[in-house]
C-alpha cells in the first residue's frame, strides 16, 4: 500500500465568515500575509511527509477559502525541487476548464523534468462549480475533457517531428514540448470515478482510478474498474491502479485522535458551504441525469452508513468512521478500520490520506503524520500482501 499525504490547504481563518466558502466569497476576507504563512506551513508538512516515506498529492480549486492551491503544477513545481523521494501526484488538473491544453502539457513536462521523473498526473473533470470561474461551457463538458486529454497525451508522448493540431475547441500551428517529460512514454495518468460506469474508461486506458470520500460506493467503483480492466486487457489490474481518499487522525490515545478528527471535520462542513445555484449548472450533467437527480432527492447522493442508511447532514466522528470517510483512533484502531474498509471494497493499493484537513494545527498534523508513518504505514503491507486475486477470480 502506497500512502499519499494530502491537504486541501485551506485558508481556515475565513471559516468564521458567514455564508459560502466558494465562488462568491470575496477575497478581502483573505489576509495575504497570513495566507502565505499558511501555504508555507502546508509545504513544510509535505516536505516532512517526504522524509517520513509518504508520497504527495496536490489538488486545486478556484475562488475558494477551502483550498488555496489554485494550480496543482505551481504547487508541485515547488515540491519537485524541495522533496527527494516522494512521488508527486496532481489530482487533479481540471482539464476541461483549461483553455490551453498545450500549456498544461508544458507544465507537466517541466515538473516531471525538475523532479527527476517523480510526477504522476491526474486529469479530472473536477467540480461542477468550477465552470463559474473558468467560464468554460458547462455543456458537452465530457466531450471537451476527452478532446483536451487527447491533445495533452499527444503532446507528452510525441517523439517525432513537431505536429499541428485542429479539433473542435483547439487549434495549434505547432506543438513542441521543451522540455519533454522524463518518464516514458508519459508520467502515470490518474483519473477519478464515483461509479462503476465512470471507472470503465480509466480501466480501458490502463490509468489509475481514485475515488474520494465515497465510502461504500468505492466497492462498486473498484468492481467496475476491475471488470472493465479484465475485459480490455485480459488480466486483472494490480491493486496499484486503485486509490481511496479518506481523512486519517491517529494519536496514542483515542480521545486525542477524536479531538483532532473534530478539527478535521471542518473540512466537510466548509466544503459543503456553496450556494445552490453553483452546485450543478444546467448543461454540466446531461438533462436526463438532472431529471433523475431531481426525482431521487438530495439524500440519494449521500454516502451510506454500513447499515445502508444515508450519512446524516451533520454526522458524528463515529458515523464518519462507520461510513468509511474517516479512519480515527489509536494506531491499532486505525489499522483495523483501514483493514476492514480494504476488505469491504475488495482491496486497493493507494491510500490518499488527508493527514491535514480543516483547522488541524501544524503541531497536530506533524504528530499525525509521524505516528501514522511509524505505527500504521508498515502494517499496511500486510493488506497488499494478501492481494485480491482470490476474491476476484470470478472476473479473470
Amino acid at each position: 500500500m502506497k500512502v499519499w499525504q494530502f491537504s486541501e490547504q485551506a485558508y481556515h481563518p475565513a471559516f468564521e465568515v458567514p455564508g459560502a466558502m466558494r465562488v462568491n466569497l470575496p477575497s478581502h476576507h483573505c489576509d495575504p500575509v497570513e495566507a502565505g504563512a499558511l501555504i508555507n506551513r502546508y509545504l513544510d508538512e509535505y516536505m516532512l511527509a517526504d522524509q517520513l516515506g509518504y508520497n504527495i498529492m496536490i489538488n486545486e480549486h478556484h475562488a475558494a477559502a477551502t483550498c488555496m492551491s489554485t494550480s496543482c503544477m505551481t504547487t508541485l513545481a515547488i515540491l519537485a525541487r524541495q522533496t527527494q523521494n516522494a512521488r508527486l501526484l496532481a489530482l487533479g488538473i481540471p482539464i476541461a476548464n483549461r483553455s490551453n491544453p498545450v500549456r498544461v502539457a508544458e507544465e507537466i513536462a517541466m515538473v516531471d523534468a525538475i523532479s527527476g521523473g517523480r510526477l504522476e498526473v491526474g486529469l479530472v473533470k473536477g467540480a461542477a462549480y468550477e465552470v463559474f470561474m473558468s467560464n468554460r461551457l458547462p455543456n458537452r463538458f465530457v466531450d471537451r475533457f476527452w478532446e483536451t486529454h487527447d491533445l495533452i497525451l499527444a503532446a507528452l508522448t510525441n517523439r517525432g517531428d513537431n505536429f499541428s493540431w485542429d479539433s473542435e475547441n483547439f487549434h495549434y500551428r505547432v506543438v513542441s514540448l521543451w522540455p519533454r517529460p522524463i518518464q516514458d512514454p508519459h508520467p502515470p495518468i490518474w483519473m477519478t470515478a464515483s461509479s462503476a460506469n465512470s471507472a470503465a474508461p480509466h480501466a480501458k486506458l490502463d490509468y489509475n482510478c481514485a475515488t474520494f470520500l465515497s465510502g461504500a460506493v468505492a466497492r462498486s467503483v473498484f468492481d467496475g474498474y476491475r471488470k472493465s480492466y479484465s475485459e480490455a486487457h485480459g488480466r486483472l489490474p494490480s491493486d496499484d491502479k486503485l486509490a481511496y481518499l479518506a481523512i486519517v487522525s491517529v494519536a496514542d490515545d483515542r480521545k486525542k485522535a477524536f479531538e483532532r478528527a473534530e478539527e478535521m471535520k471542518s473540512y466537510f462542513t466548509t466544503a459543503a458551504r456553496l450556494d445552490p445555484q453553483f452546485r450543478n449548472p444546467a448543461g454540466f450533467n446531461p438533462w436526463q441525469v438532472n431529471v433523475k437527480m431531481a426525482q431521487a432527492g438530495p439524500f440519494a447522493i449521500r454516502p451510506r452508513l454500513r447499515d445502508g442508511s444515508p450519512l446524516p447532514s451533520d454526522p458524528t466522528i463515529e458515523q464518519y468512521i462507520d461510513a468509511g470517510l474517516m479512519f480515527v483512533g489509536t494506531p491499532d484502531d486505525v489499522f483495523k478500520q483501514i483493514a476492514q474498509f480494504y476488505s469491504d471494497v475488495g482491496g486497493f493499493g493507494n491510500l490518499l490520506m488527508m493527514g491535514q484537513a480543516g483547522t488541524l494545527s501544524h503541531e497536530d498534523t506533524v504528530e499525525n503524520l509521524t505516528l501514522f508513518s511509524k505505527e500504521v504505514m508498515p502494517r499496511l503491507k500486510e493488506l497488499s500482501a494478501e492481494g485480491p486475486e482470490v476474491r476476484y477470480e470470478a472476473f479473470a
Binding site: W287, V291, A294
Partner: protein, 270 residues
C-alpha cells in the same frame, strides 16, 4: 384573463416535423396572417397564454427552439447563429411569406439574428425585451446574470407577477425533462458571451422591416435602456413600453402584448 391549460393538455396539440436532421416540436394555432413566434428562456410552454390570444388574429407558428421542449439538439448546434439559419430554412420549408416575426427575450435575440441574415419573408417584427446585444461592459453588468442567481431569485426577477414556484418533487417526469432541457439549451446558447453576440450590433442596420421594440417598464433582467441599442441600430424601429410588466412580458401582460402586436401589424399593413 385567459385560462392557461395544464402542460399535459397543452402538449396534446404539439406537432412534429423533420428539417435539417432536427425533429422539431411546434404548434400551429389560429387563423389569419402568418406569425412566427419565438419563445423565451422558459420554453414554448411559458408563452402558452400569449400564443392562444394571438391565435385569435393570426396563424401562429410556435416552435420549440432546437434543444428546448421536445425539439432535438443536434451535436453541431451551439450558437444562436445555428438557430437563425435553421429558422430561415423553416420559413422556406413551410413556404411562408409576409410573416409577422415575434420573439421575446432569448427568442427576441433569435429573431434579430434571423432578420440581419434575411428578412425577405417577413413583413414586420416585434421584439419583446430582446437580448443579443452586449449584456455587460467590463465590470458593468447590464443584463442580470441569471446563471449567478438561485432559482427563486431568478424566477422573481423574471416577472412582475409573483412566480408560481413549484417544488420539483411535484413535477411530472415530462415537465422535469422539459425544464431540464430548456435550461441546458439556454446554457449552451447563452453561457459565454452571456446571452449576446458581439457581432449583432453592427449588423442591426441590415434589418429593413418595420420593427416594434416592446419593453416591460418593470423589467429587472434587462433594463428599458438596454432596448435603446435595438431602436438605434434598426433603421425602422419604434419603442413602446408596458406598465406593471417585467421581463416575461408574455406572462405579466399577455393581453397588452397581443394588442400591441396586432395593432402594429395592422398599422404596417395599412
Amino acid at each position: 384573463m385567459s385560462k392557461v391549460p395544464s402542460l399535459e393538455d397543452y402538449l396534446k396539440d404539439a406537432k412534429t416535423l423533420e428539417l435539417d436532421g432536427v425533429s422539431l416540436e411546434y404548434f400551429v394555432k389560429g387563423e389569419g396572417p402568418a406569425l412566427l413566434y419565438l419563445h423565451g428562456m422558459d420554453g414554448v410552454e411559458g408563452s402558452a397564454a400569449l400564443i392562444d390570444i394571438l391565435a385569435q388574429k393570426f396563424t401562429v407558428y410556435a416552435p420549440s427552439h432546437p434543444g428546448f421542449g421536445a425539439s432535438d439538439l443536434p451535436r453541431h448546434f451551439s450558437t444562436v447563429d445555428d438557430l437563425s439559419y435553421f429558422y430561415l430554412d423553416l420559413m422556406e420549408h413551410l413556404d411562408l411569406n409576409d410573416v409577422t416575426l415575434v420573439g421575446f427575450s432569448f427568442g427576441g435575440w433569435v429573431a434579430a439574428e434571423i432578420l440581419v441574415k434575411d428578412g425577405s419573408r417577413f413583413s414586420n417584427a416585434v421584439l419583446g425585451a430582446p437580448l443579443g446585444l452586449r449584456t455587460a461592459n467590463r465590470r458593468e453588468q447590464i443584463v442580470t446574470d441569471i446563471f449567478m442567481l438561485d432559482r427563486k431569485d431568478a424566477e422573481e426577477r423574471m416577472q412582475f407577477k409573483s412566480p408560481a414556484l413549484t417544488d420539483v418533487s411535484e413535477l411530472s417526469e415530462e415537465e422535469l425533462g422539459r425544464k431540464a432541457r430548456n435550461a441546458e439549451a439556454l446554457t449552451l446558447y447563452g453561457w459565454s458571451p452571456y446571452l449576446y453576440n458581439p457581432k449583432l450590433e453592427q449588423r442591426l442596420h441590415r434589418i429593413k422591416v418595420s420593427t416594434l421594440v416592446l419593453w416591460g417598464e418593470e423589467d429587472r433582467i434587462a433594463p428599458t435602456t438596454y432596448g435603446d441599442g435595438f431602436v438605434t441600430g434598426i433603421k425602422n424601429a419604434s419603442f413602446e413600453t408596458i406598465p406593471s410588466c417585467g421581463h416575461r412580458i408574455y406572462t405579466d401582460s399577455p393581453e397588452a402584448a397581443a394588442d400591441r402586436i396586432t395593432k402594429f401589424k395592422n398599422a404596417a399593413a395599412s
